[in-house]
Assembly symmetry: C5
Homo-oligomer: 371 residues x 5
């Protein structure tokens, strides 16, 4: 509840007012109410790198940054923006890097479905590849999901995150490492690396669910735990949400693998194929989990039915055996004046009759496989 | 019941008599019985706009309007007709704007499935794009659905609504706003904007269901509410109806995005791609809701079964423990003359036997995990 | 049972003997046993029409008819044959109009799946479009289904029906009406009109099921009606049969809409697109109905389970409260000689103990939400 | 069990040893263990025919037959081999007719999935069409299935059956009949005819299941028969097996209809389209049956639940009414010394109290719709 | 548990750290921690063969082996590596045979999804076909699964196995056999043969499940065995895992059959078609098994329900008959002072009343089909 980024059933959509103009143009941004996100300082980090050199610095004076040009040696510039609350900054970046208004709108709406849009191809629109994806992590046993928006230009990569803190520190390390293949690559290879990290990060999440699933299975088969039903329900639901988040990411990678776009180098596309294999494997495991959970739910239902059956069998056997005996005992407890059987051996006869009934019943049950 | 536009299971179709001629030609309209819609005055509104100028007025004298020509400066004319009961007016418009008879037929039948038909391409038929869609709103907690028919010509847009009142007022405002992008766009961009408003309007409806779904989930997991089954049923059904309304709209937008038609500008088609993403996202959320409801129904069934199981367990334990005790008590209440056990310690012995039975039973239940 | 044309689960197929020669050639027809259909006179009606003129007459002297030629002014000749029992007549027609043997075989077998076969394209086979479809009507609350076979040549349409009586009288009326669009159209437009009437006729059938479905829903939700299960079963089954009949018709219209055949004019294909929309809408409604029925069956099952649960709860509460009381009452009814409690206040104490047990039990049930 | 050809769940596969060489070359055949089939004499029959002439004879001296050439007038030679146990003969035929080793392997393995393989196209491999299909019959109420392998060359057809006895006698008769269309056709037309007979033979099998299904439905709806569950299970399973056998046959015919192979004449492909319609119809009926059975299983389950509900209701009503009465009776049967109510009208009061309880309970049940 | 190679629900993935560089380059291998596999000596075996000659030897001195060249007469060299723990050796091989870094990464990760990747086509990347598949065996009644990685070059085949011991000994035998077709074939034919052995090996596994399934069916239909539910669950799960392993293998073979790659000869592709048929057959059987198990689970559930029904019926009949009798007996056991019925024939009357009640009840049950 406290975590605004928790992956949950979507019930609130940050959609603009119906009928409003499509797309958000840079000059509209200052009139917009900021998205309902945890407020906080927006952090902009710039990394310039080339095979020979690398420079990494946080941006303190944003105005100055916008005026400045990139160093001549820089082959790729990666600008990472943490936080979407400073619309001014986004406006300035949108203007400087000619981001498409529809893309800016999607970027600010943090419930957008993962997708990849290619802009450009004709002279008046700048060639850009716009990718929306979700970074999925486990935080305190709960699925945490953050929208990541990536703009890829010819030599520039812009990444927008909802809030600071990400899983890309190893990548920053690799950029710093002299001679790493990443530093030799172009901007599209950086985007591939970022996506690869996001996809790889899904596997620990899957491992978490795999473990829980194994525990759940032991509990269902053991049949002891009382509130297992709710756990199955929760499991089902979380896997559904996870699948909902993963499925469009699969489409995005598939599209990137096949897309021919001027910002996407041939080498990167080869690597995208490998990435696609990973996404498919993640989906495959997820679907297997979902099938197993569905099977567990069925088995649980059958187990409950079986136990009910057994309980009823015991109840029925005991009742059916004792009900006639009870009646006999009751009959001989009646206070009639003239009770015919004042017979001497009445009690032993009663006992024998009782035993006969019991053995008859038990025999009948045996023959019908009840006990 | 009172609302003729409520979205419900279709059981009445406004189809013509089987065997009747296909299509409705303008000259047939005056012989037709008006469709079974709430009667009322038909309101025609005309908006002419160009980047520089805009004129908006209701049509009072329909005959005069038909004779008049549009102002020379007008780059787009949008004629909105509220109400389908004045067949004369529709006849006049159909003649003036060369609407295809099949399209007129679909327009008058308010249960037509959303679709997009392209007419034209050969000289004798006027180039028109005919779109049928549904405007879905929540009115007093109920789904309200209205058929919207849109004709797109080169410079003209005709929209037909079942009844007055719509969600397009913001668009009218944007047309009035000098310098808005809408006013610079062509007729097809106006159609895109209208469709966009309709699709955006689905999200508040989805939010409503998302909220109800969350409440429902709490109730199911809590297991307290008695008539939850009917609520699940109602939810399932409404989502089914919503899906039935959305699914063909997805096809319509997909078709418009891919269609190459002379009335559809290239820019508009780019925007249609964005619209398509929105429809897909709406469908995606809807399908997720449907899966969650299906899961809730299953969980509810299992919960009921579980509770039954527990009830039966308590009943069985109590019965099974007391039935033999009862029999013993009954046995010693018999009125035989010669009762063998006139033993002094009979009662304490009886009590001990009872306790032994109770403890034996409880032990057995313990071992079998009943209690 | 009495109605040989009732739409039901197919269990008898009018297939020829396995291994028999494929196709039925005109000269084989006289050796064939007539199909097992209600015998009766075969009625042949011929309609010749052109924009200016129309002639309609039943054929009494079949031999003479075969020898005669059509009037020179006739632009379309429609021959309608009611009844398939006069194999001689079919043989003569097959010879005269060069019908393909495989088509004749399918035409005589009244359980053929709706389909459209195109013959021709090479010189030695006459260009024909052969369409099999089913006319579905409601007769006394039961689905009635009749196979309709249509041959379309360049200027001729042959239609074969299983028995007299059809839904095409409005079409005959339109042919008679001077200036109707049908009379201006070619032979393929007539075929479109015939198919259109058949498809339009499905909607009243759907309305019937829609009404029954609404009644059923009220009954299920009310939960009162005892034999609702069988009604759901019957509904499910009839919708399955209806779907089985409609599905291939959808394929037929889809094929006709896309097919380029020399007997099919371009105008007709435009109209076929509209017809296809209608079939798709019918299928769409049918599938919605099927989903609703499936949902009803599930809701019904859950309702039954819920009621069982409630019944068991009442039984369990009463049993569990009274069983210990009964035991106590029984205990104090025992006839021991030395009954220890000859205490003065035994009975009031007993009553107090009973009340204590009752209140304890009820409190326990309350805490566990049973009552 | 006794019938080795009964269609059943596949659990034994006649696959060669893993790692063995693929394909069976003629010179390997004599080293192979014969397939585990009922041993018996292998019968070879040869039919030569041309429009003018026909010759049919069993082969007694196999060696001589191999040396001999076909008569010059023969346009088609059909060699039918009943039994797969004489590997020598198969070896000789494989050599003479240049059968592909992979095809020979599939032919000897009687659990091969129906398929159509085209060989040839390049000079060193003989042009052959190799078809594996299954002949399905009902023998003593059980599904009997036999693998049929067909090789089609330019002028030769080879058919291999597992054991003597088939459904092709009418075809042999038609070959004998002077002037039959079969005799005028080429070798591929013969293959079509053979496949057509196999497909037509499925319809009587379907009729058998259709009849059983109708009986089953009456039993389920009647709700009387005790072991109906097992019958539903058996039905489901047999339809599953039948579907498993039919489905690949559909693919085979579909492939033959579309395939352009030098051994397949254009006329034959037209006829294959008709055959494909028949297979599709058979599949369609089968799927309908499967849906009906699934529906029956659900209805049966609901019926059982309903009956349980009713039983429990009766039990609950009786128990709930009598349990308090019993307690009262028991209470007044207690042997306290000082029983307070030695009132004169105790017994009538007791009876009145009992009646009050009964009427109260019954009223309560009425209000809650139990009775 | 003890078996690290057992086919089970995937819960641990040998993925690298998210954000790490994609692919593993030869020079990184010595820095890597070896995969978590049973440690053990890595065994390298080299087989050189040509139609005329064959040489097979284990590699003891790996350094020397790397320096040496293959004999001039060798047409195919097959290097098999058992064990993935010696990263040095893998590094050396990766360098020598120019294996792609992404392929090396997949090879070391033993949970990779089966796939086929084609490298090459442009000058700087060596043409390689990289195939990952799984060898599935039954070991002590449990599914054992091992990842097999195959590199195919022009004249070289490299195979990597997780641990020693495989199913390829017959293939080694065939290489040794002078004149075997395998020895005449090229390197891609060897790969086909290896894959063929892996696929053929699935059939004994399927046979095992087929047998278990038949036993299971007898038990379910018999309805006697108590823990059948868990067996069904286990069966379902193992078939799911098997399917998960087989499904991507089907894709791999399908891809190889269609792929045009310079290392894949035309002959091999023909054989791949046959292999594909086998995989499809295996999948087909597996899906049939899965459907049968699903059907068994349903039948089992219904059986349990049926039995519950019967138990409740017996319990209800006995209870309902005896409860009123008990009440009567209790009533006449009351100790009222003034008991009205001191009638002489009270006891016989009581007995007659009891019998009347019994017969009435039984009659009622008969009429309602309870007994």
């Amino acid at each position: 509840m406290a975590n605004p980024r928790e992956l949950k059933l979507p019930t609130r959509f940050g959609k603009r007012i119906p009928g409003a103009a499509p797309g958000i143009y840079p000059d509209q941004l200052d009139k917009l109410a900021p998205p309902k996100l945890p407020a906080g300082p927006v952090k902009v980090t710039v990394i310039d790198y080339a095979p020979e050199q690398v420079e990494m610095h946080g941006v303190l004076d944003f105005e100055a940054f916008l005026q400045s040009h990139r160093p001549a040696w820089s082959s790729v510039r990666w600008i990472n923006i943490d936080g979407l609350t400073d619309l001014k900054a986004i406006e300035a970046l949108a203007k400087k890097y000619e981001l498409h208004p529809l893309a800016v709108e999607d970027l600010l709406n943090t419930t957008t479905r993962p997708k990849a849009d290619a802009y450009g191809g004709d002279p008046q629109v700048a060639a850009r590849l716009f990718i929306i994806t979700r970074m999925i992590e486990l935080k305190q046993e709960r699925l945490d999901s953050e929208q990541i928006s990536i703009f890829l230009g010819h030599k520039t990569v812009l990444t927008f995150q909802e809030s600071p803190g990400d899983i890309w520190d190893p990548i920053r390390g690799r950029i710093n490492a002299r001679g790493s293949r990443l530093r030799v690559g172009d901007a599209s290879f950086l985007v591939y690396t970022l996506l690869d990290a996001i996809v790889d990060n899904i596997f620990p999440v899957l491992e978490h669910y795999g473990d829980r699933l194994e525990d759940l299975e032991i509990d269902v088969v053991g049949g002891r735990k009382p509130d297992i039903l709710l756990e199955i329900h929760r499991m089902k639901r979380e896997l559904l949400l996870l699948r909902r988040a993963l499925w469009p990411m699969r489409d995005v990678v598939h599209q990137l693998q096949g897309e021919r776009h001027e910002c996407l180098s041939e080498t990167t596309r080869t690597y995208m194929t490998d990435l696609y294999d990973h996404v498919v494997q993640a989906m495959d495991i997820l679907e297997t989990y979902r099938e197993v959970v569905a099977g567990l739910a069925e088995t649980h239902l059958s187990t409950v039915n079986n136990r009910l059956n057994e309980i009823m069998k015991v109840l029925a056997v005991i009742s059916v055996v004792f009900i006639p005996l009870n009646f006999m005992a009751g009959m001989f407890g009646m206070n009639f004046e003239r009770f015919p059987w004042k017979w001497e051996h009445a009690f032993p006869a009663f006992l024998i009759a009782c035993l006969a009934i019991v053995f008859g019943m038990v025999g009948w049950f045996r023959r019908h496989d009840w006990i």
